[in-house]
């Protein structure tokens, strides 16, 4: 029966090739959209993690929700030291974060911003904004009161390098307070969100002006590559022990669930799109095999007359489909692997398709070059699902084949 099915496919070579190619291409498209989706997902998650300020964020209890200026992590040194020693920790950075209102000393107008005190060296593995410096210097030089602003912010305030900026905020004691800075640098990240709100000063200066008494707002921790966030968090909790008293440890996914949801939804759209391709292909297959059954009414009727049971006649049609599916899918997988071989090293630049104005709520993507990633279980599951779908689409033609009436099939009309 396999022999018969195989020869049947060879007999209708043109049709088999067309159908097989359609299956192979659909498989290729599907797998590539998975691989690109996974690559994109990984890249966005990575970018999101860095933009969030680390895989795990340590604050004083309640700061993340309330953003109250008085919730300060006092005496960060022992916490940072313990965290640094935790297994799986790659990098760590202390920050001071205050919501602030900025005005220019010379001009009218004001703008809301987030004042961040950072250590530029420690920030490097995180979201190193010095990459986006378009003017001036990045918290360098002798001036302790140097400030780096987002480009939009400088436009809103009509300020330029050297201009004085007044920063108003509620300090760590809960008192209204203000400090004077001098614009030392301008960054343009490409993310409108960030360019409109970022105001960076040196960590030490920030601690002084906000009266934290040596405290910080946040310690961001990056885990080793590939380490799951929950594992990193667990490791930190163990390393910190009793010191977690009065602190909150949040993975960035816990901190920003909407962003995670957004990125995941994007991936699901990809799969949905690929699924639609497949339904279309499945209809094509059903149609092809139905045609092939109808063309062979006599032949299948002959088999029935010779004693092949209806089940086996239907089985023959299914076998033809399965053989074709296996070969075509094999080809599809081979092509997908070849494409992956190329795209996993050379990448595919999405910017060509969607332009550069790609902005997901404050996540900075340096570029949109996506490197494909293979998620083996998903590829295997896809294979099984596609195979099942093809076989399903052949069920109707096969069923029709079982219903052929041998007495009619064999009649010769003079």
């Amino acid at each position: 029966m396999w022999k018969l099915a195989w020869r049947q496919l060879l007999r209708n070579r043109a049709r088999s090739i067309i159908t097989g190619t359609a299956i192979a291409l659909a498989v290729l498209l599907f797998l590539m959209s998975l691989a690109l989706g996974d690559g994109m997902y990984g890249k966005m998650m990575d970018a999101a993690e860095r933009s969030a300020g680390g895989g795990v964020l340590i604050h004083a209890e309640g700061w993340w929700k309330t953003r109250e200026s008085t919730r300060v992590l006092l005496d960060p040194a022992p916490v940072a030291a313990a965290a640094k020693g935790a297994p799986g920790v790659r990098a760590l950075s202390e920050r001071v974060v205050f919501e602030a209102v900025l005005t220019s000393a010379a001009n009218e107008g004001f703008a809301a911003a987030t004042l961040k005190g950072v250590d530029p060296e420690a920030e490097k593995p995180f979201n190193d904004l010095s990459r986006f410096l378009v003017k001036g210097t990045y918290l360098a030089g002798d001036d302790a009161r140097t400030i780096v602003l987002g480009k939009k912010l400088t436009e809103d305030l009509s300020v330029d390098l050297g201009d004085r900026i007044v920063v108003r905020f509620t300090d760590a004691k809960g008192e209204e307070s203000q400090a004077l800075f001098r614009l030392g640098g301008v960054v343009a990240t490409g993310s409108a969100d960030i360019d409109r709100t970022v105001a960076l000063v040196r960590l030490k200066t920030a601690m002084d002006v906000t009266h934290t008494d040596g405290g910080v707002t946040q310690i961001g921790v990056l885990g080793a590559k590939g380490l799951a966030l929950d594992q990193l968090k667990g490791s930190l909790q163990r390393a910190l022990g009793d010191r977690t008293q009065g602190l909150e440890l949040l993975t960035w996914r816990e901190a920003m669930p909407e962003l995670v949801g957004f990125i995941e939804m994007d991936g699901n759209m990809n799969i949905l799109f690929a699924l639609i391709i497949f339904v279309v292909v499945a209809f094509g297959i059903a149609n092809t095999f139905l045609m092939s059954v109808m063309e062979r009414v006599r032949e299948l009727g002959l088999l029935s007359a010779l004693g092949v049971t209806p089940r086996r006649v239907g089985g023959l049609v299914l076998r033809e489909t399965m053989l074709l599916a296996l070969f075509a899918m094999g080809l599809g997988y081979a092509l997908a692997l070849a494409a992956h071989g190329y795209l996993s090293t050379h990448g595919l630049d999405y910017a060509q398709f969607i332009g550069n104005d790609f902005d997901v709520s404050g996540v900075i993507m340096d570029d949109l070059v996506i490197y494909t990633q293979i998620n083996a279980p998903r590829w295997i599951f896809t294979g099984i699902a596609v195979f099942a779908m093809i076989v399903l689409s052949a069920l109707y033609p096969a069923w029709r084949a079982t219903r052929l009436d041998p007495s009619q099939a064999m009649r010769t009309y003079e």
């Binding site: 006599r298 007359a305 004693g307 209806p310 007495s407 010769t412």
Partner: protein, 239 residues
């Protein structure tokens, strides 16, 4: 396997026992009576020709005896088995076990070779390869096709194709071979040879043949001729 069992017959030597067989086709609202109360008995080892004009009901009768279709009325026993109430699947198994078929045309599976077509029913019945070869090759040689085993049907002449069909029909030593105008598409010499072959096999191996034809030359050479006319048996003569 039943396929190679000795010829089985009904309890009283009757291989075919058809009583009051009526077949009415309905085409839309029109009823076409193809058979109107046919009684026919064939004993094991006979060679019977169903004669009659085109449209007289020969094919219909063969199809009913061959369990390819159900009669509207009446009962048919073949090899002791009631074939009028078989399911499709039971009917297929019955055909494989007990019957051989030769049709007017389209007898062969196009994608199989001459040899594969000839051994097809044996393979279906599950006979081992060596056993199939031992049964089929001598028969193919016997009908002069020993050199063409690997040809595809489309590379053969009409007469050669029909001979392969005959070999396939008898290879499994069925109780009964049903042949529906097997010579209609052949020239008279070729059809004469094919008839010779079937007559020889009938005599040598005792295979029962029921053979439909409206070719006077062939009818003249048969020992028993059953004439159909408008779905009824008009004459039944044994010479």
């Amino acid at each position: 396997m039943t396929a190679v069992a000795p010829i089985s017959a009904g309890s009283n030597g009757e291989l075919i026992a058809a009583r009051g067989v009526t077949k009415i086709y309905t085409q839309g609202k029109v009823e076409v009576p193809a058979l109107r109360g046919v009684d026919l008995t064939v004993t094991s080892g006979e060679f019977v020709v169903l004669a009659g004009a085109s449209g007289s009901g020969k094919s219909t009768l063969l199809n009913l005896v061959g369990a390819l279709d159900h009669p509207t009325e009446g009962e048919i026993f073949v090899a002791g088995r009631d074939v009028t109430h078989l399911s499709r699947s039971q009917a297929a198994k019955f055909r494989l076990a007990e019957l051989g078929f030769v049709f007017q045309a389209y007898n062969l599976v196009p994608v199989l070779t001459c040899y594969e077509n000839a051994e097809y029913t044996l393979a279906l019945a599950g006979l081992p390869r060596a056993r199939r070869r031992a049964l089929v090759v001598p028969l193919l040689e016997r009908v002069g096709l020993g050199d063409l085993l690997d040809r595809k049907p489309h590379e053969l002449s009409g007469g050669q194709q029909q001979r392969i069909a005959v070999v396939r029909a008898i290879a499994s030593r069925p109780a009964l071979v049903l042949a529906d105008e097997p010579t209609a598409n052949l020239d008279s010499e070729t059809s004469g040879n094919l008839l010779d072959l079937m007559l020889e096999l009938n005599e040598e191996k005792g295979t029962t043949f029921v053979f439909a034809s409206h070719d006077p030359d062939l009818i003249a050479r048969a020992r028993r001729v059953v004439r159909l006319k408008d779905g009824r048996i008009d004459a039944d003569e044994t010479r």
